[in-house]
């Protein structure tokens, strides 16, 4: 192999390149952590969807986000059940309440009513069956284990919701939300607590399980005809979850904040990295000029600098990903919503590598000083 000048210089003078590597790494961490937190927090609005096991969701036409559901006509269930591909249908209620516990003062809570049967679809991922069946007892609720402190309660504790006494019989996992608190109860309990849902005909969503989940699109299409669309709308679970996340990303301003902070991170990263690379080029000007003297063409020197930039980017990115995984671990241990997916990692990786290469291109300007004739003055 030919002499790896770029890489050997990088290793030999690692102290010189360290600021660039760190700035690339921190830019990466900043973008990933921000993005994952944002997606995690915004994703909490889709928790009723993502923590349930339904293939299809049926709700009010034009619903923008899962947490903004409005009551639909109970007749929708009968219509869907006509389709032989639909295995079963189950209602899910979303209401609101005012929690008053030991601490005094009220806390706004979101009431989620699910079918309490052991194999119920609603929030099936958020609690074990043994806990779910406890809800069959009237006036019992589940609180997320991340919210116990916020509500100053514990399993076995009692409180009032909308003036009615409830008992906490267990906890859910991963239902901690951005705004209010998610309280899970049986359908009957939620109807009793939230008067607006009192009538048996009022249902926020119907959850459908299909015989074969592969048919979800086809079934959805069947019930998306204009006459049906006036009364209810059908989404696959992924659609409704995605719609909820997009709505909050775009409508809440949080997305704009993320974009702005990302631009700042990229700018700072580019600035520090290009300054570091420029200093490295400046320190090697006599050597580069000597190579020019013996006839090494300019593009070959440019390649050295860009290769160094590439290595700085790659090593910085590795640090950034490691830092992000650490952040994900800390978030997980503390029950903080943190959606570290491949999408945000790829986005950040691409941006960070682009930063390093852009910095390398900026540093190329310094190479112009590598004039061999200048060595002779």
């Amino acid at each position: 192999m030919a002499v790896a000048l770029a890489r050997k210089t990088l290793l030999h003078e690692w102290r010189r390149f360290l600021p660039a590597v760190m700035s690339v790494g921190f830019s990466g961490v900043l973008i990933i952590v921000q993005g994952a937190l944002l997606l995690g927090i915004v994703g909490t609005n889709a928790l009723p969807v993502t923590r349930s096991r339904a293939d299809l969701w049926v709700g009010f036409p034009g619903t923008q986000s899962a947490d903004l559901g409005r009551s639909i006509d109970a007749g929708a269930a009968a219509e869907l059940l006509v389709d032989p591909r639909v295995l079963r249908i189950e209602p899910l209620l979303m209401g609101s309440g005012d929690w008053r516990g030991l601490r005094g003062g009220g806390v706004s809570v979101t009431l989620i009513g699910v079918d309490a049967r052991p194999d119920g679809l609603g929030l099936a991922e958020a609690m074990p069956r043994a806990v779910r069946v406890l809800l069959e007892e009237p006036a019992t609720v589940l609180v997320d284990d991340g919210d116990l402190g916020k509500l100053a309660t514990a399993i076995g504790g009692t409180a009032e919701i909308n003036g009615q006494r409830v008992r906490v019989v267990g906890t859910t996992r991963g239902m901690r939300a951005m705004g209010g608190v998610n309280i899970v109860a049986s359908l009957a309990t939620v109807r009793a607590l939230d008067r607006s849902l009192a009538s048996a005909g009022a249902v926020t969503y119907y959850l459908a399980a299909l015989r074969s989940p592969d048919t979800a699109r086809a079934v959805k299409t069947r019930f998306s005809r204009p006459d049906a669309r006036q009364r209810f709308e059908v989404w696959t679970a992924a659609e409704l979850a995605g719609r909820s996340v997009r709505y909050w990303l775009l409508e809440s301003g949080a997305g704009v904040g993320f974009i702005f902070a990302t631009i700042v991170a990229l700018l700072v990263g580019t600035l520090i990295t290009s300054q570091t690379l420029m200093a490295a080029v400046a320190a090697s000007i006599p050597q580069y000029a000597t190579l020019r003297a013996i006839g090494v063409p300019f593009p070959a020197l440019r390649r050295i600098v860009v290769e160094q930039a590439g290595w700085v980017g790659a090593v910085g990115l590795a640090f950034g990903l490691a830092g992000s995984l650490l952040a994900a671990l800390l978030a997980h241990l503390n029950g903080i919503p943190f959606a570290l997916g491949p999408g945000i990692m790829a986005l950040s990786g691409g941006l960070v590598l682009a930063v390093a290469l852009l910095a390398g291109v900026l540093a190329l300007r310094r190479l112009r000083h590598a004039d061999p004739a200048a060595l002779l003055r």
Partner: protein, 241 residues
């Protein structure tokens, strides 16, 4: 067909604009250098000797006049053409060594052959034998920080000669060295000229070098003053412009 080893300049002139004052660095310099000789261009600072080296090696272009090297008119080549010419035929040794801190001696030398597209094994062998030639075969694994000034300049010479250039240019190669190392480097340059038949031209005001050069060309105020053979040369010819 290989052109004979030759390097000549005729009517060279070059001026620089420094802070809006034009300085005439060279005026009407004509010179023919002979192969197999260590030629020394000497003179006080600012006499134009480095400018002459720069023009004759194709590093820069004259305002007027011509440089013919190995049968090529350097003035007719564009930048890329002069790069290619230097890559093929020219070696350089500078006052400041200019070695890469990260590379060991062997790699410094091998790098030149890499850029010439020489295969890896051959490049390593060539680099090793160039280092042997300058007496550093046993030090080839060391980086510049681990070498003395004299050893660094010998690595730089090995780097300059590894591609067996027919034109070797050296700018003040001994001025940063003590007397022993200065003598070693001077003898090396002369030996290279004698053994390889290359044109070796050296710019220096180091009297130790003047004593060992085959030919001494003295400059003053951008013109040639004296051209003498052997040292100290009884056959000196005064040049009257």
């Amino acid at each position: 067909m290989t052109a004979p080893t030759s390097l000549s300049a005729s009517g060279l002139a070059k001026s620089y604009l420094v802070q809006s004052i034009r300085t005439q660095a060279l005026a009407d310099v004509s010179l023919t250098l002979r192969p197999g000789e260590l030629s020394l261009i000497s003179g006080p600072s600012g006499c134009g000797k480095s400018t002459l080296l720069s023009l004759m090696s194709g590093l820069s272009r004259p305002d007027s006049g011509e440089v013919h090297a190995l049968g090529t008119d350097l003035g007719r080549l564009d930048d890329a053409g002069r790069d290619a010419f230097r890559l093929a035929h020219c070696g350089f040794v500078f006052q400041g060594f200019n070695l890469f801190p990260a590379l060991d001696a062997l790699e410094q030398v091998q790098l030149v052959l890499d850029y010439r597209g020489v295969p890896q094994d051959e490049a390593r062998r060539g680099a090793a034998s160039a280092l042997e030639m300058v007496g550093l075969g046993h030090r080839s694994h060391l980086r510049p920080a681990e070498l003395s000034g004299g050893e660094k300049q010998r690595v730089a010479i090995a780097r300059a000669i590894v591609k067996r250039p027919r034109l070797l240019f050296a700018d003040e190669p001994t001025s940063a060295l003590d007397s022993v190392n200065g003598a070693i480097v001077t003898d090396l340059l002369r030996e290279i000229a004698h053994r390889s038949g290359a044109i070796v031209v050296c710019v220096s005001h180091d009297p130790r070098l003047i004593a060992r050069a085959d030919r001494v060309i003295e400059m003053e105020d951008g013109r040639l003053r004296r051209d003498s053979h052997g040292a100290p040369a009884p056959s000196a010819t005064e040049i009257h412009p």
